[in-house]
Point group: C2
Chain length 356, copies 2
């Protein structure tokens, strides 16, 4: 167990934005919101899955919507309202919270309700990265029920979904209400047992995010190569380096969708990389040849400082390095690939694991 | 109190389709479904608001969606599932049910859960006609809370909205989930007290629908003018007679929206009437001059047989008579006109009560 303090937040936000592969919400906004909660409410302890009490009841909380909207219309304490609505509905209290995804802002989201309610959070999440849709959680892939789910907005509206015939149907219903709520809302999922968490969560990803973020900050302070520092913590591969020369981005059906095109520089000239995204980066190709695809992680970082750039902040002219990391084994089983593999996102490609 | 039998259903469906001003769902489909329930489950008693026990708990149930979809994708017993989801959520049982609107199919909707659950229904509704949106109920206009609301589809998905900051927000959220559910779903509203029903429901509209339907059937049997028969029960005005020459209809944002154009025949030639609708007929004009507008009732009936034609069944070439009826006084107060007057539907016109 360790106690999370303000000092950790910036590094977690940076590290989680690397793992978030472009999605999960803006890390800076998430950091500010979590810091405000820690200053205003109680401190938050972090438990590994192994440290959980045997009879723990763990509620997964997260934000849902389009990250492009989330930087203009910031979340408030909706995750706390969603938690309370869920607890009222099921008639039991959470004893710990867990993040839905290790993405920029969502990695920090549980800190806010945890700080208000005085609960610990679990070092882990349901993706080991970020994914755009609710059904793409290891919890559900490995048999944990996806209902009931509670949803809340900042205005005072709430919804509970007592039952959905599949996790994908839960996604459809919750997404449609989220769009009405202004494209940003927070949710809380039915309490999970200690066994369910240990069996299905991707473990230790909060401390991994912290280590990644610290490595970047330390390298910056020492004027060392931040890319090398990242690789020393999470072994991966440099896929490309260059300058953003084109960007399509649209907020549609509740997501930030689009494509970024990067012209190669240095060793990578005159090649061109394009990356397609749906909140998260999904598929990266060089001159039409796929080099990395979902569920493996595709991360765009600032070449000079190693800071991850989430999809809503991509901009023409940025000099970027594109990194690839192998996904956690829980995301690469046959049943996982059905839900989070290339075909689940509408691509015809067969998944080929990234070789590092 | 009277006992509702199979013999009443056809007349109620016809009468309610007159009151439904084109909406409320297909009356024939509604009649078949209610008949099936009465044959399979228990008989259903009808109570006037005056006959309710003082401590009654009355749940309003109804269908939501686009009537055009409802004739291809019929509702099943979702209203019963919505009722049970609502009862489970609030922790109390309904003692009676009430219709949300006196429209073709929705007028009969409560019969299905009432027959399954062995409950009586109340002779009344929340509109005295049909309207397309949830917030347009006299219950809410006169201060009854619009939450919680339970929603269910035919597949096994359900949603509960514990709170919405306004009835219009409830409409937005419930409509968006309905669209995902396939554009047809059923809902149940928080139980109401006897006082709330007596104070805010439009009373005796189920028996009015029955009288109207019987008048049409009797006139048909006796080869008398069915229009005269209708007027003898609900005094109104013949607005126009002619032949449908154009029809625009699109299913969009969860509604059947469109416009019908009618060329005058006989005394009405060479005039042309156009009627715009959103599930229900909203505004009728002759040669560009408004002659009747919401909340007053605009009803299109078959000229020969007096049978009402709902908006999803309008067709080129039909010979029709357009009738206007004054809305119930509960719909014409200043606070009601804010919610169900022309401006609430986006029309610039001042409401002018229909003179009969």
């Amino acid at each position: 167990m360790w106690r999370l303090t303000e000092d950790h937040l910036e590094s977690i936000a940076t590290g989680a934005a690397i793992l978030g592969t472009g999605g999960g919400g803006n890390p800076y906004v998430g950091m500010l919101r979590a810091r405000e909660a820690l200053r205003r409410y109680s401190p938050v302890d972090v438990l590994t899955p192994e440290e959980l009490d045997e009879d723990a009841r763990v509620v997964c909380v997260g934000g849902i919507g389009a990250p492009t909207v989330g930087i203009e219309k910031m979340r408030d304490i909706q995750a706390y309202h969603a938690l309370r609505a869920l607890e009222d509905y099921v008639g039991e209290k959470a004893t710990a919270l867990i993040s839905n995804e290790m993405g920029g802002s969502n990695s920090l989201e549980p800190i806010i309700p945890a700080s208000i309610a005085g609960l610990p959070i679990v070092d882990g999440d349901a993706m080991g990265r970020a994914f755009p849709e609710l059904q793409m959680k290891t919890f559900f892939i490995y048999g944990v029920p996806w209902y009931p789910l509670a949803l809340a907005d900042e205005k005072g509206n709430s919804a509970i979904f007592p039952k959905a015939i599949s996790a994908t149907w839960m996604e459809r219903m919750a997404r449609s209400v989220t769009i009405q709520m202004g494209c940003i809302a927070c949710y809380a999922l039915a309490p999970m047992s200690t066994d369910q968490i240990r069996r299905t969560a991707v473990p230790h990803t909060l401390s991994l995010a912290l280590s990644l973020g610290r490595a970047v900050k330390d390298a910056q302070a020492r004027h060392e190569d931040p890319i090398d520092a990242i690789m020393s913590v999470y072994p991966g591969k440099v896929l490309f380096q260059g300058k953003i020369v084109d960007l399509e981005r649209r907020t549609t059906t509740g997501f930030a969708r689009g494509k970024v095109v990067i012209d190669g520089l240095g060793d990578y000239a005159p090649g061109q990389m394009s990356i397609e995204f749906q909140n998260e980066n999904l598929i990266a190709s060089i001159d039409g040849q796929v080099v990395c695809l979902v569920p493996d992680l595709i991360c765009v970082v600032d070449t000079e400082r190693g800071e991850p750039i989430t999809t809503e902040l991509l901009r023409y002219g940025f000099r970027v390095t594109v990194l690839g990391f192998p996904a956690h084994p829980l995301l690469k089983s046959p049943q996982a690939l059905e839900v989070v593999g290339p075909k689940a996102f509408g691509y015809p490609h067969q998944y080929l694991p990234l070789e590092v």
